[in-house]
């Protein structure tokens, strides 16, 4: 796996969870890629770090992943199933096992490390963010003039100037490349003044300014003056869509959304104090629910939108503000307006290093240096066994990167054919000691973490004070508690001194709890007999100016931890055996692809289709925009699905009931004309139920045979070219029944569909005059090149406003379309031989509503299934064990549906590879003797887990409980406890904190 950005991490995790070994290689010092630099992400405007951090630490923990940071690929030999890759690792000069991430080296020798984005005027650091993985610094030795002093300054003795780096070969079955893309550098565009005007920034730089971990710690300030700006402008399509010097021909796909996000976050924070304006060519909010996000920006946040490409950004000498020149739709005059900051929405570009990578792997690339993919499978390259994902495959946003990452994992995992190497088995864990009923004997182990803790407070004094607490049997200072020697010592002490509860005084439980849980488990204690006192991150690091008060606080935190741990008791982690069959609902291309990918890996699949035949909407299509033959593709897919010995196809099957929990579901269905009832047991459920073509009663659809949908138009072109040859005028109308009040979202596929049909009409009838009446042309990514091609070939694209739509008049066999032409400033009438309406897709209302009820799954307001996390888990549904693929998720192209289908297969494999699912121990537990069955927990739970059972008491299924504890906090009978965070543990902390005051 080359590239450990968000996508690379996802691929690696998917493969590792499916029990495949992964070498994860990245050039950078720490993994995480571009997303770690963002402030917030659309469309939820969540904090990025909060959503990303769990993935980062997970990848480090996975035993199947070996992470190689600061490493580059030098060469590759061999073929699919048997590659040899040569790697070279740069020296970090820091021993990862010893570095505690304390930052002492950075404090004393800030110049030894460099950090890129230009706006970071803090001391340069390579630890860009506190959740960095690996949690360690790196040194640039060439910038250091006193190496001996640098080595000396490290309290952990982790700096090693003699490190040489390393090179070596690894053998692998398949290769996934996700090195990411760079961003366009606008320095060359002098009319924007980026290179000499500090207040003109790129969107990533703006993002860093907004970020709490950025150079201004989240304060929005003009770089030139340090004052808060009053007016900020965004200019879209910088370096994209082929109009400026050095620009790429494609659309970068994500910039409209991130400009909206930045403008909204800005408005949210500064309200009326700031004015935000976006200058755009087409607003391309084509993703799931993105159009609503756009509407919110406009209507709720008051972001101003101007349809224009600004001519210049100028600043007169000495002037405080910049002058932006532009024209608008309704005027040919040059307008000027003043702004304090200008943000350039710079698009994606393949960087030189990445281009080199493509040549190292000998991949065929297109004119824009992206790898060519040979067919409908987006993650394949010209070289079998090498797959791509993320922005290296083509410009895209995070959710699509995540989908491709999983799809790449699916493909790469299939190639791993070598028999599993016998692993060095960890020695079996000792049985857990039974501590119930024993007097608590607490062992308190306090780290000095080098100078980090020991430099502010005297650990020996602290140990002395803590040793006097009730229940404490042993209290010791342990130096670097997480070092190998200390861990061994702690384990020995627990065993020899018969310790039955443990408190660690040191760093944060967020980073180290699992490590010490594992340790005490090895020492024969249940993992949950542990408490942490965070005396580093939350005491010595922040109270170094008050050492006396710091040691008092450290003592208080330790007292609280000891009080709570005395009340702790062993908890059992829940696990469930897994049924390894898979149910796929929906027999379109997505459902069939998921079924085949899973069956190919040896698992039984039931493919249930409501209709009588397989193929879905794709069976009605002929060719893709890129020219792939869909008909033969679909036929081949159906044939392979029907022939696969592990796939049982059930047509005419309607799901009627469903029970069970992840890993062991039971679903009932009625099959065939006799409605014969059948029940299937399975561990994973995949929904690929698709969408249906919309057919709104608009523009005379159905009133004249000349007015057709794009789907019908496509059939006419391919089945009756002689009719098409007779046409003079064809008018296409976009957004018919989409982006309206009733159906606010964009159907995503229609713009490329119109371009495709226009080009295909011109193939059979080059003389035809084609008018495309659109609101925003949303030919994202490489589709833009076909949009350009259509314009070159003379297709006339005319923009219309929603409040002034075209009119279609039908009289006898005449159809006249009237529209307002903005440039000519007059109404134009066209007598059309054919009117093609882009009617898009809608969710199949009744059937998806019924399925949502049966499976208890949420849907969006417009009826599509709602994923668990729109950003990071785009194909996982909120109920574990459920996944969604294809247009059941949202409208998308065939290629995109197939990618999602493979992503789902990969996600499913992560469950199927295991024998049991571990559900953790932090779940809510009901004491039925206290329960008043009042329903308050049922109503309070955000996940609808509690229910009143047949005995009349609340029951909470630990397999479905998310462990938030809201039910426990609201239960009026005090009948619910959240395990590990029980009332007596919380109260013990409060008691202990104030124990002195009472005594």
């Amino acid at each position: 796996m080359v590239g450990a950005g968000l996508g690379g991490i996802r691929t690696a995790l998917d493969l590792a969870e499916a029990e495949k070994d992964v070498v994860l290689v990245d050039r950078a010092n720490n993994i995480g890629g571009l997303m770690t630099q963002l402030d917030r992400t659309f469309p939820t405007n969540n904090c990025d770090l909060c959503t990303l951090a769990p993935n980062l630490s997970e990848s480090n923990r996975q035993e199947h992943i070996s992470l190689m940071a600061m490493t580059e690929v030098r060469g590759v030999r061999g073929e699919k199933g048997n590659f040899t890759v040569s790697l070279a690792t740069r020296p970090r000069y820091i021993n990862l096992d010893k570095c505690t991430g304390c930052g002492e080296c950075l404090k004393q020798f800030p110049h030894c490390v460099t950090f890129t984005p230009g706006l970071d005027h803090r001391a340069p650091t390579c630890m860009r963010y506190p959740q960095a993985t690996p949690y360690a610094y790196a040194v640039d030795l060439s910038k250091c003039d006193d190496v001996a002093a640098l080595v000396q300054c490290c309290p952990a003795g982790a700096i090693n100037p003699d490190e040489l780096g390393s090179t070596g070969d690894i053998a692998c079955s398949s290769i996934v490349l996700s090195p990411g893309a760079s961003l366009f550098d606008p320095s060359g565009l002098d009319y924007l003044g980026y290179s000499d005007n500090p207040d003109v920034v790129t969107s990533l730089e703006y993002e860093r300014i907004l970020s709490a971990s950025g150079p201004t710690q989240g304060r929005l300030l003009c770089p030139s003056s340090g004052k808060q700006p009053k007016k900020v402008a965004w200019i879209q399509c910088i370096g994209s869509r082929g109009l400026q010097k050095g620009a790429a021909p494609y659309c970068s796909g994500a910039c409209c959304m991130f400009a909206l996000k930045e403008a909204m976050v800005t408005k949210e924070r500064f309200q009326e104090d700031i004015e935000t304006t976006i200058f755009y060519m087409d607003m391309r909010t084509f993703g799931k629910d993105y159009e609503r996000y756009y509407q919110r920006a406009k209507n709720e946040f008051g972001v101003r939108f101007i349809h224009s490409r600004p001519h210049s950004v100028l600043r007169a000498p000495g002037a405080e503000r910049m002058e932006l020149g532009y024209t608008t739709d309704d005027s040919s005059r040059l307008l000027t307006e003043e702004f304090d900051m200008v943000v350039l929405s710079t698009g994606f570009r393949i960087g030189d290093e990445v281009r080199e990578l493509a040549s190292v792997f000998d991949l065929e690339i297109n004119d824009s240096n992206f790898p060519v993919n040979p067919g409908l499978n987006q993650v394949e390259t010209s070289r079998p066994g090498i797959y791509v994902a993320g922005t290296f495959q083509g410009p895209k946003d995070i959710p699509e990167t995540m989908v491709q990452a999983s799809a790449a994992a699916c493909m790469a995992g299939k190639d791993v054919t070598v028999p599993e190497i016998e692993r060095e088995r960890e020695p079996a864990l000792p049985p857990e000691k039974n501590v119930v009923g024993e007097e608590p004997r607490v062992g308190v182990f306090i780290c000095d973490c080098g100078e980090n803790i020991g430099g502010v407070i005297d650990v020996t004094t602290l140990v002395e004070r803590v040793s006097k607490l009730a229940g404490v049997a042993v209290a010791e200072g342990v130096g670097h508690g997480c070092s190998r020697e200390s861990m061994a010592h702690i384990r020995q002490t627990i065993e020899e001194q018969n310790i039955n509860r443990v408190v660690i005084g040191g760093c944060s439980p967020r980073t180290h709890e699992s490590k010490f849980q594992d340790l005490i488990r090895k020492a024969g204690l249940n993992k949950y007999l542990l408490e942490f006192a965070n005396i580093r991150d939350q005491v010595t690091w922040v109270h170094s100016h008050q050492p006396v008060r710091a040691i008092d606080k450290a003592e208080e935190l330790l007292k609280m931890a000891v009080g709570a741990v005395r009340k702790s008791h062993p908890l059992a982690e829940h696990s469930l055996p897994i049924n390894k069959n898979v149910l796929v609902v929906g027999g379109g291309v997505a459902g069939m692809t998921s079924a085949l990918e899973i069956a190919d890996q040896g698992f039984k699949v039931y493919l249930v289709e409501q209709g009588v035949r397989l193929g879905g909407i794709a069976a009605q299509l002929h060719r893709t925009l890129e020219g792939d033959d869909i008909k033969s593709f679909v036929n081949d897919l159906i044939e392979r699905t029907r022939a696969h010995e592990l796939i049982e196809v059930i047509t005419g099957g309607i799901i009627v009931d469903h029970t069970g929990m992840p890993g062991m579901f039971t679903t009932g269905m009625q099959v065939g004309r006799q409605m014969f009832y059948r029940r299937i047991e399975h561990g994973v459920t995949i929904l690929a139920t698709g969408a249906v073509p919309n057919r709104p009663d608009l523009f005379g659809l159905g009133k004249s045979e000349k007015v057709v949908t794009q789907l019908e138009l496509q059939n006419l072109i391919h089945e009756g070219p002689e009719r098409v040859q007779a046409w003079d005028n064809v008018v296409m109308i976009q957004c018919v029944g989409s982006r309206t009040e009733e159906n606010p979202n964009c159907s995503r596929i229609c713009c490329q569909n119109a371009v495709k049909n226009a080009l295909h009409i011109l193939e059979v009838n080059p003389e035809a005059r084609i008018f495309v009446l659109y609101r925003d042309m949303r030919t994202y990514g490489f589709q833009e090149e076909y949009f350009q091609k259509a314009r070159e070939k003379g297709v006339i694209f005319v923009r219309y406003h929603q409040d002034e739509p075209p009119r279609v008049e039908i009289s006898d066999d005449q159809v006249a379309v009237t529209y307002h032409d903005i440039i000519l400033e007059r109404r134009i009438q066209v007598n059309a031989d054919c009117v093609g309406l882009s009617t898009g897709l809608v969710a199949p209302d009744d059937s998806s509503e019924e399925l949502a009820m049966i499976f208890k799954l949420p849907r969006t307001h417009d009826g599509y299934f709602l994923e668990d996390h729109v950003k990071l888990r785009p194909v996982d549904l909120p109920t574990p064990g459920f996944f969604v693929a294809g247009t059941a998720h949202a409208p998308k192209t065939i290629g995109e549906s197939l990618t999602q289908a493979r992503a789902v297969a990969s996600r499913a494999m992560t469950i199927l590879a295991r024998e049991a699912i571990n559900l953790g121990a932090v779940t809510a537990k009901v004491d039925s003797t206290r329960c008043a069955s009042c329903l308050i927990c049922v109503r309070a739970c955000p996940f609808d887990v509690p229910f009143i059972n047949a005995d009349g008491y609340s029951e909470i299924d630990p397999a479905r409980c998310h462990g938030c504890g809201m039910c426990a906090a609201e239960c009026p009978a005090k009948a619910i406890e959240l395990l590990q965070f029980e009332d007596d543990q919380v109260l013990a902390k409060i008691e202990q904190l104030f124990a002195k005051a009472v005594a």
């Binding site: 930052g103 709490a212 965070n534 580093r536 991150d537 998310h962 938030c964 906090a969 104030f994």
Partner: protein, 139 residues
């Protein structure tokens, strides 16, 4: 009250506020040592009873820190917490304790700076208010 050092209990949700506190640490942002954190999985887990007990046992101030609006990892725990805090402020007033001693704050995991600022401001505010009436009477 010459040298009054208030004791403030902060119930912090694991995903956002507690992480923000760690972030303040890694950025070495200095704030007063008066704030003691109790970690909870979600701010919605904070029980009215725990808030009451903290004051009863001698806290001069209490705050619940959760995720930003719409960011709760458990959908709406932060909203529930905010309602609970508002309710308990009324109760404190009834008891005769200044309701300003109890606050709800929201922050994202990346906001180390905000965590430090909230801790400082809360400490300053409580310092001005003086010891809680309960502690004052015991002294």
């Amino acid at each position: 009250m010459e040298h009054f050092e208030p004791v403030i209990v902060a119930f912090c949700c694991h995903y956002c506020a507690y992480t923000a506190a760690d972030m303040a640490g890694s950025q070495r942002l200095v704030y007063p040592a008066n704030v003691k954190i109790i970690r909870v999985p979600c701010s919605g887990k904070v029980d009215s009873l725990h808030i009451a007990k903290a004051f009863e046992k001698g806290a001069d101030g209490v705050y619940v820190a959760g995720c930003l609006d719409g960011d709760c990892h458990f959908k709406n725990g932060n909203d529930k917490a905010a309602r609970k805090v508002a309710h308990m402020r009324g109760y404190l007033e009834e008891i005769g304790i200044e309701p300003e001693r109890l606050e709800m704050v929201k922050m994202s995991a990346g906001m180390g700076e905000r965590f430090a600022r909230v801790a400082t401001e809360m400490t300053e505010k409580i310092r001005k208010l003086g010891p809680s009436p309960i502690k004052a009477a015991a002294a």
